[in-house]
Amino acid sequence: MSQSVYTMGIDIGSTATKGVILKDGSEIVGKIVIDVGAGTSGPKRAVEGILEQAGLAREDIQYVMATGYGRNALEIADFQMSELSCHARGAYFLFPHVHTIIDIGGQDAKALKIGDGGVLDNFVMNDKCAAGTGRFLDVIAHVLEVDVSELEELDAKSQNDVAISSTCTVFAESEVISQLAQGTKIEDIVKGIHSAIASRVGSLAKRVGIQDDVIMTGGVALNQGMVRALEANIGHSIHTSELCQLNGALGAALFGYQKYQNKAKKEARQAK
């Protein structure tokens, strides 16, 4: 009887660590999000937590693939790949018609162009400034004294859009403070912030060339206010999944499965 093959993908971002365990390259048997990333205890906790959840030991995992900003530091990984390819692969698994991916991560925003069959065709990333990244939202949420998870709800309440023109984190912070001083409602500021990010990230997507289906991945995709703002900016509807934050880790686990299979095939050829 052939045994099941388990592969693990660990996506170590700048602000969170995500993990997925796949059985036979198709069934998710473990998933985890730890809210600290590279250089913290996050990666170790993610690996331990996800193994426990799936009731498996490290030895049961045939292939561990690391991705994300902290990918080079994961000792137990068999291989590492960029989060670009992993996001492409993960999104293709979830949405077979994907052609454009917009991913807003902790310190990067990127737009990926996906060819038929889910291959990464091209990508554009933000410059090193934090404008248009998850970090930007964190800073603004802090100024507004709300949790990032509340942004979606606040956005939905807004009746008036206020224009926040700057996407520089520091400048936007002072713009927000001055809006607050003028008595502008928090929900309108939140909506304005979402539009500001959307215009920044939308232009990345336009540069890479937008084609349906458009998928948004990364933790920020959980915020439907942000998704709506982006849809309005790019003029395309955007699909998300509840697994969007795990998308990079899922792609990594899928690549792990592919690598495992290639290796197995090679070994079988050599044995002949």
């Binding site: 990464l120 065709d121 540069r207």
Partner: protein, 441 residues
């Protein structure tokens, strides 16, 4: 973790041409000699000038003047990791962090901030022209002001058409005549036509040898890496009219020829991929720039910056036309054609672009040029934030991710093309050789 680091292929190190030193060592010696000559001249009480890299230096050579090059000096200072200190000094003097890093380093040095990166005498006059960029005019004006010395300026109007018109040539030749007059006043000598013609002959010989050396990147595998050319650029900038540079480049071309015959290369790694590198390298970060490429077997076989210094011409009018062309001073149609032709000639399958924060003219046109590459050549193009001199504007980690993404795309495409029995690199159809300085009058 299994981290892929490519091993050198044993036994393919190139050897020097029989009876000669390695060309790289010869060429290093030539630049040192140029700066040494300038020091000697200074010591003898002769005039020494600072020149912008694309000033028609043949004019000054007719007067036997010694000149050195602030851009080259700044690049060396940055490569030796002393650029940031000088940038800071310039900023303390009031120069903005947003202006070109070469200018900041040079202005700090001109104002007396010492650096051991390369010994360069202070100037008695400056030679400036704006065929490189307009920012340069202000930079050299300020040097002239700091030292209270004459500035000889030649205005090259931006090349917004593919052809250089007769009127423009008239305008530029008029300025050459005025510059000659200023040089006569400066030196108290008469313009020596014979010396001028001799300087032009050497400049043409140097350019021909340089372009020939650059052309060896077309071989598969290439006998060199484009990064080598960056190292040799000091000569084509600082020693164009020096017969020692012509000889050095001829030797370099001979060495590449020998490498092709013997299957050796300065790129001693498997050539998994070949790419075009656009822009000036980040001099303080050459290693971080090179390592991720090397580890993935990515050889740079097309660089726009290097051959753009090979001016070939016949007579003063063609010289004016040739000097009016530089990577950031030509219209976008020419810019695209230069680069795409080079991409095809040198067989690449991807491109990496430095969005140079120091150099606005260079970076300004890149998004459109990049878009055309994707469309016309169907290659993945990836850009990163960099700076040729100011290390604060380059993030190694972000660069690595972008390179890895590029390599992963090229890997996928290579596999698919190989499986379909197709040529992996940009095809050679309809390629006509790039004539970098083709005078179009």
């Amino acid at each position: 973790m299994a981290k892929k680091v490519l091993e050198k292929i044993p036994g393919i190190t190139p050897r020097p041409v029989e009876g000669h030193k390695p060309a790289a060592a010869v060429l290093r010696g030539v630049v040192d000699a140029v700066y040494g000559d300038a020091w000697d001249a200074k010591q003898r009480g002769e005039l020494v000038g600072w020149s912008s890299s694309k000033f028609p230096i043949e004019l000054a050579k007719a007067f036997d003047l010694q000149v050195v090059y602030p851009e080259n000096h700044a690049a060396t200072t940055a490569a030796k990791k002393d650029g940031l200190r000088l940038c800071n000094t310039a900023e303390d003097m009031g120069y903005d962090n947003d202006i070109c890093g070469y200018a900041r380093i040079s202005l700090a040095f001109a104002a007396g901030e010492p650096t051991d990166a390369r010994k360069m005498p202070q100037p008695d006059f400056v030679l400036c022209c704006n065929n490189i960029c307009n920012m340069m005019t202000k930079w050299y004006e300020n040097i002239a002001r700091i030292h209270n010395i004459p500035m000889i300026m030649i205005d090259f109007p931006f090349q917004n058409t593919k052809d250089v018109s007769e009127e423009k040539i008239d305008y530029m030749v008029g300025q050459f005549e005025h510059a000659i007059h200023q040089l006569e006043e400066l030196t108290g000598k008469k313009f020596d036509e014979e010396k001028f013609n001799a300087a032009c002959d050497v400049a043409n010989r140097t350019a021909a040898a340089w372009l020939k050396a650059c052309s060896y990147m077309a071989y598969k595998p290439s006998p060199l890496s484009g990064f080598d050319l960056f190292n040799h650029m000091a000569d084509i900038v600082a020693a164009r009219c020096d017969v020692r540079a012509a000889e050095g480049f001829e030797l370099l071309a001979e060495e590449f020829e020998q490498s092709v015959r013997e299957g050796t290369s300065t790129w001693e790694y498997p050539e998994e991929h070949r790419i075009l590198f656009e822009g000036i390298p980040c001099w303080p970060a050459l290693r971080p720039l090179f390592e991720p490429l090397k580890n993935a077997g990515v050889n740079v076989t097309a660089v726009v910056y290097a051959p753009a210094f090979g001016f070939q011409y016949d007579g003063i009018r063609e010289m004016a036309a040739a000097y009016s062309k530089a990577p950031c001073s030509v219209c976008i149609e020419d810019g695209v054609e230069w680069r795409e032709t080079m991409a095809k000639e040198n067989g690449i399958s991807g491109a990496l672009v430095n969005y140079n924060r120091s150099c606005k003219p260079w970076s300004g046109a890149m998004p459109e040029i990049e878009r055309r590459w994707k469309e016309d050549l169907d290659i993945p193009v990836v850009h990163f934030d960099g700076d040729q001199a100011d290390e604060r504007n380059f993030s190694e980690e972000q660069y690595k991710t972008r390179v890895q993404g590029l390599v992963e795309i090229m890997d996928e495409r290579k596999e698919a093309r190989e499986a379909a029995g197709e040529e992996v690199y940009t095809n050679f159809d309809n390629t006509k050789p790039t004539d970098w300085s083709k005078p179009t009058i």
